[in-house]
């Protein structure tokens, strides 16, 4: 008798748990998910404490605008990593696209003259080059079935050497007149917010929405989680994977469009180590390196953390800025340790 009442009440409990909405606490991200956000807040507080100029509009704009390039790339990288891939070529790709874009604009200058159409043509070429570069990486990974690490290690070397070759070992410079016209794309903005920051914000928000609320994002997570299950579940695994690389290529193109007006040139050392910063930002933000779980807003925070460290070291003059890499490295390792303690708990 008592057995049957016991089991009935447990059934009822189960049923209630089935229908109850997850509690507020369950819906909020856990403490470990908020870790990067806390770290960011701590860094901001530290910066403000060390230097009163830290929170000035000028400095904030500076930090955010510099974050924007890596940030856009890192958002694309989040999708690649979430679906179980990796792209080491993005830094070299940015340099290569910048080189191609500048050379093309210089070449088009005599026929088109200095004007908005020329700038637009350059932007189109950058996006096109990004798309093709991403498509190349993606096809090698999906059709030729080569490990993403190997493919992009290869294309990283190829893009880097191509831009060095195009620049003949030196620097490719945009024509001075065109540069004057193009400059505002980096240096001016809307409502006092610089264009790169605005574009980055749009990319980040769109990325977050795509990851959480669209099929594409869901499929990326499914593929990274178990690509066999995705395949058996009628997901077009190859196409989604390909799309992540193409998306990343396009975003590298977009980042380059925002970057070129800053210096007006490209060389063999443009975009050096961007790939590592982008990957680090993704990991710090809580995306699993082995794939299966992506968090775009985390990536944005990761990017901000990395550039804040840089900025604080320069402003505060506490330790040598040469130690920047050390501190970033410590933060990356810490982030991964925190993630692990979450998953084993």
């Amino acid at each position: 008798m008592s057995d049957s009442t016991r089991s009935d009440s447990t059934r009822a409990d189960l049923a209630r748990a089935d229908t109850a909405r997850p509690s507020l606490a369950a819906r909020l991200p856990g403490l470990s998910a908020l870790g990067p956000l806390l770290a960011l807040i701590l860094l901001v507080a530290l910066g403000a404490y060390l230097n009163e100029n830290f929170l000035s509009a000028g400095n904030v704009t500076n930090v955010l605008a510099r974050s924007a390039f890596i940030g856009m790339i890192a958002v694309g990288m989040t999708f690649v990593i979430t679906s179980g891939g990796l792209d080491l070529s993005v830094g070299s790709m940015a340099a290569f696209i910048a080189g191609v874009m500048i050379l093309a604009m210089n070449a088009l200058l005599p026929s088109m003259g200095v004007g908005v159409p020329l700038i637009l043509a350059g932007m189109g070429i950058a996006l096109g080059a990004g798309l093709l570069a991403g498509l190349g990486n993606g096809l090698l990974v999906t059709k030729a079935r080569i490990e993403p690490f190997i493919v992009t290690l290869g294309t990283m070397g190829i893009f880097r050497s191509l831009v060095t070759w195009l620049a003949d070992g030196g620097t490719i410079s945009l024509d001075f007149g065109v540069r004057q016209l193009y400059r505002p794309v980096y240096y001016s903005g809307l409502f006092g917010i610089a264009w790169p920051i605005l574009v980055f914000a749009v990319v980040a928000i769109a990325g977050q929405v795509a990851m959480r609320h669209t099929r594409f994002g869901r499929y990326c997570e499914a593929i990274g989680s178990n690509d066999k299950v995705a395949l058996y579940s009628a997901v077009n695994v190859e196409r989604i994977r390909l799309m992540t690389y193409v998306l990343l290529g396009l975003l590298v193109g977009l980042a380059t469009i925002m970057y070129v007006p800053r210096l007006g040139s490209a060389s063999g050392s443009t975009g050096m180590l961007w790939e590592l910063e982008a990957i680090a930002a993704v990991i710090i933000g809580g995306t699993a390196l082995k794939g299966g779980y992506g968090r775009v807003w985390g990536t944005v925070i990761g990017v901000l953390i990395l550039s804040l460290i840089d900025n604080i070291l320069i402003l505060a003059d506490l330790v040598s800025p040469y130690l920047n890499g050390t501190i970033q490295g410590v933060i990356i390792v810490l982030a991964v340790v925190l993630q692990r303690s979450k998953s084993s708990a």
Binding site: D3, S4, R6, S7, T10, R11, D13, L14, A17, D18, T19, P22, A26, V209, H213, T214, R215, R218, Y219, E221, A222, S225, N226, K228, V229, A230, L231, Y232, S233, A234, V235, N236, G292, Y293
Partner: protein
């Protein structure tokens, strides 16, 4: 015969008033439970009753929330599975605990490798071979786990446990994925260990196995012990009734299918390298069983039909040839396949129920944005239609009990509303009560005019469900049985290839 529990010697391993909660939900409510040397103790209960949880607590893989685990009358001095193993308490898990990229031999010796600074590969391979020989298993010690079918993986898991020289051996549904012959081998090993004085814990949803093996039976329902019995005290019906808490009627539906027009025709279909020249047809409202040994090419055939493997030959739907190159194209032709390997191919164990449920039909849940409300509604319906018992609906699917995972997988497959459903091992790891639900469900599919192919190694299931049975052997159709000729004997003969008539029909198919 019936060893009265009271008279037995002191238990080797014991649970005393053990409770276990995951978060706010208590799963086990004060379990008292003991294992004795030289005895097979069977733990039975519905899906989600808490069997695996008890076994994990016994093996040191989970700590109880309250209560005690006692080894030889003293509090068990282990806190991890590895420590328990060192003390001779070995668990064969329901989920495979093998490293997929390592070889059979490497897995068996994992953590206890032979050799000094350098590994003694030869000795380990020889030891593995000896173990596998003892199990009558043709598996090669060098094979990678990833490349093995599930039944072979289970045999490796068993071999691994045997290599551990257990005092207490805990087995969580070891027979669920095994063939008849392999189950016999397993039983011989269990009987040998019992004779050697090992304390054994066994669970299975096949109650005839319990009758045959168990010296004691403990029945669990919703996390509490509801019945204890010695050998021979409980009939299979009695066990089922105790487990489910109500009387179970005949679990197979009555044969009643009125087959309609031909819905699917398969002509000289081959799935290299094994499956060759398969032809059959399937009518609307028909349940077609496919029987055969593991390795006879049943799963390969099914995977070929839905575009998961490169195949040649013709597929006609309603008389029209269709091209099926992927699961998506199969779905577009109204065909769906439910995999036999739910952990590797079926479910995303790290994701929650809703994500898994809607994965293959996500396009119906809104474009461009997924409508979370509709997903939740679909989950609510699936939970009630398929009686999925989930302590929390936002939990990871990997934390569902095995049977509830299977029900979720079934719900996922049916969400696409397919006309032709191929179900590979529909009730693997499913309790009797749920089995009859699933059988009724398959029956209802056919009654609605859908066509169902059931692949199963479970003979009563094949006989009880199918209107017609195809038997496969070595990648070919060995025969087809229907009506009067559809008997257990006839199927077994075809499966084994010991029938004159059958080999005759095989040559002309």
């Amino acid at each position: 015969m019936s060893a009265a529990p009271e008279r037995a010697a002191a238990p080797v391993l014991e649970l005393v008033d053990v409770r276990k909660s995951f978060g706010p939900i208590e799963i086990l409510h004060g379990i008292d439970f003991a294992l004795h040397a030289g005895e097979v103790h069977a733990l039975i209960g519905e899906n989600g009753a808490g069997k695996s949880t008890i076994m994990k607590i016994l093996g040191g893989f989970l700590a109880p929330s309250s209560g005690a685990v006692r080894l030889d009358g003293k509090p068990a001095p282990y806190a991890t599975g590895a420590q328990a193993e060192a003390l001779g308490v070995v668990v064969i898990h329901q989920e495979f605990n093998l490293a997929p990229d390592l070889t059979v031999s490497e897995n068996i010796w994992l953590g206890r490798e032979l050799g000094g600074i350098f590994l003694d590969h030869r000795a380990m391979r020889a030891g593995t071979q000896a173990l596998l020989d003892e199990l009558d298993s043709p598996i090669r010690p060098e094979a990678r786990i990833r490349d093995l079918p599930v039944s072979d993986r289970q045999m490796v898991e068993i071999a691994k446990a045997l290599a551990r020289k257990a005092r207490v051996l805990v087995m969580d549904e070891p027979s669920a994925v095994l063939t008849h012959k392999e189950v016999e081998v397993l039983f011989r090993q269990i009987e040998r260990l019992r004779a050697q004085g090992v304390a054994l814990l066994y669970t299975s949803h096949r109650l005839e196995e319990i009758t045959r093996l168990a010296d004691r039976v403990t029945v669990l329902r919703d996390g509490a012990v509801v019945r204890r019995a010695g050998r021979g005290e409980l009939t299979e019906d009695g066990m089922a009734t105790a487990m489910v808490g109500r009387k179970l009627e005949d679990i197979y539906p009555a044969k009643r299918h009125h087959a309609g027009a031909v819905a699917l025709e398969v002509k000289s279909f081959s799935v290299p390298p094994l499956v060759k020249d398969i032809s059959f047809s399937l009518r609307r409202g028909e349940v077609l069983g496919i029987s055969g040994l593991v390795g006879s090419g049943r799963t390969e055939l099914a995977e070929g039909l839905v575009g998961l493997r490169p195949a040649s030959g013709e597929i006609l739907r309603h008389g029209v040839p269709v091209k099926v190159g992927s699961v998506r194209e199969a779905a577009a032709c109204g065909m769906a396949y439910l995999t036999e390997d739910r952990k590797e191919h079926g479910l995303l164990l790290d994701k929650n129920l809703a994500v898994n449920l809607t994965l293959s039909t996500l396009a119906r849940f809104g474009t461009p944005f997924i409508d979370a409300g509709r997903e939740e509604a679909a989950l609510t319906r699936a939970i009630s239609d398929f009686d999925i018992r989930a302590p929390r609906r936002d939990m990871k699917v990997g934390n569902l009990s095995g049977g509830n995972q299977q029900k979720l997988l079934l719900a996922k497959t049916m969400l696409g509303d397919p006309e032709v459903v191929i179900i590979d091992e529909p009730t693997r790891g499913i309790d009797v009560g749920t089995k009859s639900q699933i059988y009724a469900f398959i029956d209802a599919l056919a009654a609605e005019g859908r066509s169902v192919i059931v692949i199963s190694s479970d003979m009563p299931e094949i006989l009880g469900l199918s209107d017609r049975v195809l038997v496969m052997r070595h990648g070919r159709i060995a025969g087809e049985l229907e009506g009067e000729r559809l008997t257990e004997n006839a199927v077994v003969r075809l499966v084994m290839g010991t029938n004159e008539q059958a080999s005759g029909s095989a040559s002309h198919v």
